[in-house]
Symmetry: D3
Subunit: 296 residues, 6 copies
Amino acid sequence: MILRIDKLQIELPMPKEADPDAAAVVQELLGGRFGEMSTLMNYTFQSFNFRGKKELKPFYDLIANIGAEEYGHVELVAATVNALLNGASRKEDPSQTPLAPGLKARNTHHFIVTGQGALVANSMNTPWQGDYVFNSGDLVLDLLHNFFLECGARLHKIRVYEMTSNPVAREMIGYLLVRGGVHATAYAKALEILTGVNVTKMLPIPKIENSRFPEARKYEEAGQHRKLYRFSLEDYRDIVRIWKGTHPQDGQPLEVVDGTPPGGPQLDLDEAPEASIPGFAPEELHEIAQRLLKEL
Amino acid sequence: MILRIDKLQIELPMPKEADPDAAAVVQELLGGRFGEMSTLMNYTFQSFNFRGKKELKPFYDLIANIGAEEYGHVELVAATVNALLNGASRKEDPSQTPLAPGLKARNTHHFIVTGQGALVANSMNTPWQGDYVFNSGDLVLDLLHNFFLECGARLHKIRVYEMTSNPVAREMIGYLLVRGGVHATAYAKALEILTGVNVTKMLPIPKIENSRFPEARKYEEAGQHRKLYRFSLEDYRDIVRIWKGTHPQDGQPLEVVDGTPPGGPQLDLDEAPEASIPGFAPEELHEIAQRLLKEL
Amino acid sequence: MILRIDKLQIELPMPKEADPDAAAVVQELLGGRFGEMSTLMNYTFQSFNFRGKKELKPFYDLIANIGAEEYGHVELVAATVNALLNGASRKEDPSQTPLAPGLKARNTHHFIVTGQGALVANSMNTPWQGDYVFNSGDLVLDLLHNFFLECGARLHKIRVYEMTSNPVAREMIGYLLVRGGVHATAYAKALEILTGVNVTKMLPIPKIENSRFPEARKYEEAGQHRKLYRFSLEDYRDIVRIWKGTHPQDGQPLEVVDGTPPGGPQLDLDEAPEASIPGFAPEELHEIAQRLLKEL
Amino acid sequence: MILRIDKLQIELPMPKEADPDAAAVVQELLGGRFGEMSTLMNYTFQSFNFRGKKELKPFYDLIANIGAEEYGHVELVAATVNALLNGASRKEDPSQTPLAPGLKARNTHHFIVTGQGALVANSMNTPWQGDYVFNSGDLVLDLLHNFFLECGARLHKIRVYEMTSNPVAREMIGYLLVRGGVHATAYAKALEILTGVNVTKMLPIPKIENSRFPEARKYEEAGQHRKLYRFSLEDYRDIVRIWKGTHPQDGQPLEVVDGTPPGGPQLDLDEAPEASIPGFAPEELHEIAQRLLKEL
Amino acid sequence: MILRIDKLQIELPMPKEADPDAAAVVQELLGGRFGEMSTLMNYTFQSFNFRGKKELKPFYDLIANIGAEEYGHVELVAATVNALLNGASRKEDPSQTPLAPGLKARNTHHFIVTGQGALVANSMNTPWQGDYVFNSGDLVLDLLHNFFLECGARLHKIRVYEMTSNPVAREMIGYLLVRGGVHATAYAKALEILTGVNVTKMLPIPKIENSRFPEARKYEEAGQHRKLYRFSLEDYRDIVRIWKGTHPQDGQPLEVVDGTPPGGPQLDLDEAPEASIPGFAPEELHEIAQRLLKEL
Amino acid sequence: MILRIDKLQIELPMPKEADPDAAAVVQELLGGRFGEMSTLMNYTFQSFNFRGKKELKPFYDLIANIGAEEYGHVELVAATVNALLNGASRKEDPSQTPLAPGLKARNTHHFIVTGQGALVANSMNTPWQGDYVFNSGDLVLDLLHNFFLECGARLHKIRVYEMTSNPVAREMIGYLLVRGGVHATAYAKALEILTGVNVTKMLPIPKIENSRFPEARKYEEAGQHRKLYRFSLEDYRDIVRIWKGTHPQDGQPLEVVDGTPPGGPQLDLDEAPEASIPGFAPEELHEIAQRLLKEL
């Protein structure tokens, strides 16, 4: 079970104007094979299906807990897509062409299928698919997969960063590079405990330090790369059996933090009445709001 | 963001023996177009993409909060699949045929691809896909979709119930029929507020009362069909603007309950060393456990 | 069985020049999940699979008959795509670059895979798929689905309208908005008869009147929104049991019309010899025509 | 546009008992790559997209007209699937296991997703897809495709025939083998006219005569293999420019028949109230029927 | 089994600058339904699955041997895609936007998912799929398929040629038009031997001679259209039983050539360190190279 | 380019009788995400797309060369599927039910779509897809992927071994376990050279030694696990820069062998005339054979 907290993991800036092509490209980080839907669902299902929980509880806790964090990453990328699509349609009468910008945009489904919001799809509009989840039941193999998945996800994040200088995209990517680094390191450490192989030494993959990206650097300077949040009130306490010792790159002590990061507010997204989003005239909206208040 | 609670929404019985074909069929309720992955992801993404949150906050709260409950439903169906696969392989040496039961089982991927665990796929092994998410941005249309989705999901649950008498499957379905009924009613009420049409009167669809099924009846007798849990510590309080008044079928008062249901323990799933699940000999498992404890 | 009539449901204007990106976007209304292939195939298969025809014949007749009309809608959207692609290639020798316009067009398959004609795919080139057909066998649920499908289709039509001012696209959409409105109303009325719930009151979804669009308004002014054509010589007469009374929006009497609308001619589409469409030099074409005439 | 005729192309026998595995296998002939959905949609879209209609009208007429016949073939295979699923569920209370037969059946979706009816999918439940349509715009290539498609479809029909001796399946296949033979021959003749190559001489592919199958032989003895029906009241008259001369195998004169074959009645399919098909208790069904009659 | 030869089938020119949209379009010839992956895999699997090898050995040899040539065609198209993507990213620091060209490019996956290299996908990024392989086991039908496949592939090649004048694309297409012509002719001759029908007379399909394209003409002038290479040291000698006599278009004698064409060098593709391709700084690259040499 | 050698990598026994369910399951090792099509295509495309070949030639050579070996692995698994399907149909007249065994078999497509031969699909008939190819361009990441892919492939092989005791399946798996072990070790060594991390120490994954399986043990006893074959006449010589030193498990010296393994004969697969495989009566077969000989 989960409890939701109606906040984003960080404070996200709203762009000044819509940037639909950047929105389309950022979708790769949401619904691509190496996007956040994949990290969320891989770790979540690996935790659901875990056998041998008693002896291997710290590994169960680690996977389950990182899965919980990934929910917020999906949320953050979705918020970014929404921000990039904010104001994407023109303020025109429906009988004019308020959605003309969609005709030339990379992804028409942002304009036709969603209400200028995030799709569960990648940058070429291929939907995310359940068979992106790898869960063999062999713990070493599953952890090796997770380590590889985090490294692949990191490469994709860097490349999307290199495609757009839009500040909202870069803020999100900067943060996720650091958090993804924590996860890659955590899985590497888990593998080290199980196999004795010094996997952390491989990192970072690709061999470009997070500090090269200003938006990531600031989160590292705040020590985010050494913190593993425990996304639970009561559970997953045994992650301390794995997330311990020092960071393989900077040698500073690793830390488990109880609870979520402080986070930032959900975005306040504009309505787009010309495209029936959310589908009420201002007077109707007001009236419904009044009705809801009164009727209790 | 979310906090995970390491419990199932109900107490689930473990079957005495493996039932791989039932496991295969139950997958429809997890990864089918009308399975719990669909309800989870539809409502979650509708909440991520919601525009016009200020005036329509109760609707946002409702969708976001039901989305939170659905996470636990995915978890519950996954636990059922795992329970049905518990002991599915024979305790034989790998050089014998410990996985022979898989040769005739409906879904070979339960034996080859997963560690005798849940797939993110339906009863014919088609993976769940991101384009099962409907999110037009038009609130009435999205709620109409959700109402339809819940009714379709209910039909599938009933039909899977009618296919297997396995107690773990029926316990799960009984509970979810009641909870799905709450969601269908909630969306119907939301539509009523927005359109003035008495949608709740259509229920139940299909026209078979939950009380026909003993495993559902007991949850209704406990009043579960009138409770909407608020899966959040601080947020989504405005669901009371919609979940109010009386239940359309029994006329009893509706109730918002803060927090999750009490729930039951996660299942204790057997290891299957013959298939490398989780991939350690008993002595290795013990040794790793010791090492984890010592190393802190 | 069917009899084909070699006419379009309306007279469609030919655009002055090719508009490949509009053609690509219009594909959503043909092969998208809410496109005309979906309405055609949903109702057609629901009629093929209908059980309980004796007692429920009017509902069978309604679904079967609307399915027949949808065939003409697929045809109309396909004609629109063809019209928008007419003249899309340059009149150049094959050794030059007559298909250069395709290099930058949204959908390369219009230029490589088809002969500058309609694809059975959506606006992002995802092929239409048989699992877009919903047919549970539960009549209320199937009708609820159909009602939802028509509303979703309507939203997509409006949004494509808002993306392009091309007259051929808008003429087609104007007409289909009105006809789709008839279908939504018919399914709503069927649901009212079965459940007693006043579903028609929800319409239109989205809440933008057809009359806002000049190309739809003219068809409403001609009373098209009140007519249900009976696409059969002898059958489906019981649709009058459902399509009766007055129109929920304008209060005027509903009418069943025997036979098809008068319709307009099939388009006369240009050949594109530079791309081997249809693949004969003018002299060969003439010769073949002569041979066909002579050989009888 | 089309007019529907509420009859099947032949009289189809109802099997004495359900045969769900045969139903599953017959799906290949409906929604497989070489199934009737493919022949229907290939020829239909080729006719929609035809360029150069003036000089090549007989070819347009031929493709369009065969497309019209294929609609009835889809209908016939769907009826066969329905017949094979008739009575597939047990007459038990929903709280028992009326759908237990589905647990071991090849295709669970016949029991969960449809109301024991036809899916738009193949024998392994892969949905039919729009990219099974081939339409290059080059007429010779399109006709070569159609010729190949008919031969492939013929092989699949023979192999499904060889898998099941169920009379309803064999009656349908016997008829379609003969009709498919007409189409293969027609496309071969069209190719001969265009290229001068004696394509009809290749037939039959595979090299097993229809007369080997009793259910096909009787239709050949009735001369069905020499008749091309003209599925239109007014149009497609120029098919006589191609369907003329003698049959390549038996040397008897070919014949164009105006209108459809006489056909047989639609099947009367049983309700399955235990699975909510169509979802009304007998008393409700009667009441609704009365209401519909009275309300006019 | 195979032996690889590290050469391309021809000498391929490197373009002066990147042309990502041409690269995207050329993908159709690699991973499209009619691309080289399809020809490779169709013939390869037909040879793997061949039954009746003893009596039909020349046909087995023909299919197996052409399958071997197709490997080199996939390689050649992949090299072309790589050439067209060479230099596609800007030489900027990762914190700038070196991949900005990808934001507007047809296919984002060339920039995010691959290292600016070929995808196993078509021009709309749909992945190549195993069900593009047709292999019925009926030899005439399989050969008819192969003949059709070659003609469809030829049309696609011509249309891609007509979309771009990029010399590297045209050199590759010119060569493959000629080689594809050999394969179409070979399959036509095989069909002639088996059926007595003069299939070669249909060629070329589409009816545009290779000699219309300068890049193809030069290969024909070198007699390439009359040569069938035997891609084996010891095997497939019986292709001479089919590839014999004279060329159906120019009447010159056909020839079997033992071994591969002389070919040209593999391309020397630039690194793209800004996108971590291959992921080492120049100094690291040098160091690794040294280490590899020393360590033996 | 390649040269084909018409032999299998090992001598494969023919089973005494058909075993269609084993054939269906073995498909996972051919067309599954971790099947041999994936290893073949991953390494082949990684070699096609390799940038930085000059400094990193040994890595290029390694990947290209292992890709060449994988072709033979696909061939070997395909041969196994064919062997398991040999004699799968009954020797009956087509008008009887010679394909009745297919009605209950796992995969109907072995009986309808192929000529009782291998599909390019997995054990649930999902086609292999081009997006199973991972090729980021970052060499460390690509090698990490390859290492993970080999380990996943190994797990699937072991599990299929555990599902069936059919000797042909086990012979093939035994051999491929050993060869896959070579590849996993080779990629591990490549990673060690590039990163300094002792990756080979992780092996084997899963932690079940090949020697546990008699069919694998015999190949290890013959030293196959220490040999890397060089599948080229002239190229890929620099694999010795990586495949050197001693085997991480047994400490014996590693060896590069020029050329392929000696291999065994292609299987002699039975015809199945009842299903038109290959589609000629014995007298026709003989006649064609004679004609081919004479006509030269």
